[in-house]
Symmetry: C2
Subunit: 214 residues, 2 copies
């Protein structure tokens, strides 16, 4: 119990991900150090913001010099919990689910889809890569068998609340939801939403504003 109740804002957290992404590209290029200024340029923020974000977790830089790329990347991976791989279940193997299954970026970042569940009985038994699709009735069993850390919900809106409840009861504490609806989130579970319609409406808002006002 090392009092690690990190109270970090969501915006800081998101930026940490972006810093890490850029740092890893620098690592590949063999760059050894980077300034807060350069980090800021490549993550659409300011140098002060970068330094402030990092200062919540310690002092990683050398004054007058910058940050050691590999060291900082390592520290960020530690902060973001990326020092171990995660076992992910995909619930819903429709179009969105299938696209997510094939999404290489997940695997590259250590998020491994080790289980797929679908309500359509015709899909049960089918192979996706080296995973066999399991029927909905086996959801809890699969989550336990495979020691799943994170569930991705790519099921239709009417089904998603029940799926979330079942997933939570099976002990999964982290969920990424793609169904565009408001969920009752069970105690102790963290849900993050990907809502593409909201993003599109953010764009239509801007387009409408341009037309009307200049």
């Amino acid at each position: 119990m090392t009092a690690t109740a990190r109270k970090v804002s969501d915006s800081t957290l998101r930026r940490l991900s972006l810093y890490l992404r850029y740092l890893e590209s620098l690592e590949e290029e063999g760059v050894a150090t980077v300034s807060s200024d350069l980090l800021a340029c490549h993550t659409r923020t300011t140098a002060a913001q970068v330094r402030k974000d990092l200062s919540h977790f310690g002092s990683f830089g050398k004054r007058g010099f910058g940050y050691p790329v590999s060291e900082l990347a390592r520290r960020l991976r530690g902060i973001l919990g990326l020092t171990r791989p995660y076992r992910v279940a995909l619930v819903g193997a429709g179009r969105v689910g299938s696209a997510l299954f094939a999404y290489e970026e997940f695997r590259r970042r250590g998020f491994h889809i080790v289980a797929v569940v679908d309500a359509d009985p015709r899909k049960a038994g089918r192979r996706m890569g080296d995973v066999v699709v399991r029927p909905a009735g086996e959801l809890e069993a699969v989550l336990r068998e495979e020691a799943v850390d994170i569930a991705i919900l790519a099921v239709p809106v009417p089904a998603v609340q029940e799926v979330l409840d079942r997933v939570a009861r099976a002990g999964v504490r982290a969920v990424l939801n793609f169904a565009p609806t408001e969920l009752q989130v069970p105690e102790g579970v963290t849900v993050r939403e990907v809502n593409m319609v909201v993003e599109m409406e953010g764009l239509s808002f801007v387009l409408a504003g341009e037309g009307a006002g200049g």
Copy 2:
């Protein structure tokens, strides 16, 4: 020119989308009025927040009564620019692109994919629904021919900056980007990002924190 330079925060904007989603479900159920309290319950926020958000655009409610559902929905659609359909181009017809093409929620909200472009010459000429895939070389032409309002970029990271530049030069001013990389955004263009890895890392951060601290 009616001075419509709405200065609304991103968080307010996102909540407006959620309010509208809930209002439309109430409309379907034939509910006539709704209180800020109920709206808040169904959008994970507070009644005060709802009222404050709406107050930026006018007074839509009746004191002691609540908001007229249909009227408020209509107003929100107006604010979000959803009073007309939008013509959308999908650039990249890989797995993510195909899933987006089939995503019914877009169509339902008035975002119609009227053009698909892909760099793979073998895909050019293929039909997707009632759209024919066009080769990358015709990108600008297609965007103009089809009077595209919004481009969805679902291309690989190494290609996305060039695609964005071309799309912008062809006059598209709103872009939804799925490629996980930082973009140089051309003047006058609005880009929104969907970054699923960042969301996953938000989850791994929480899981790691639980394990370490309690």
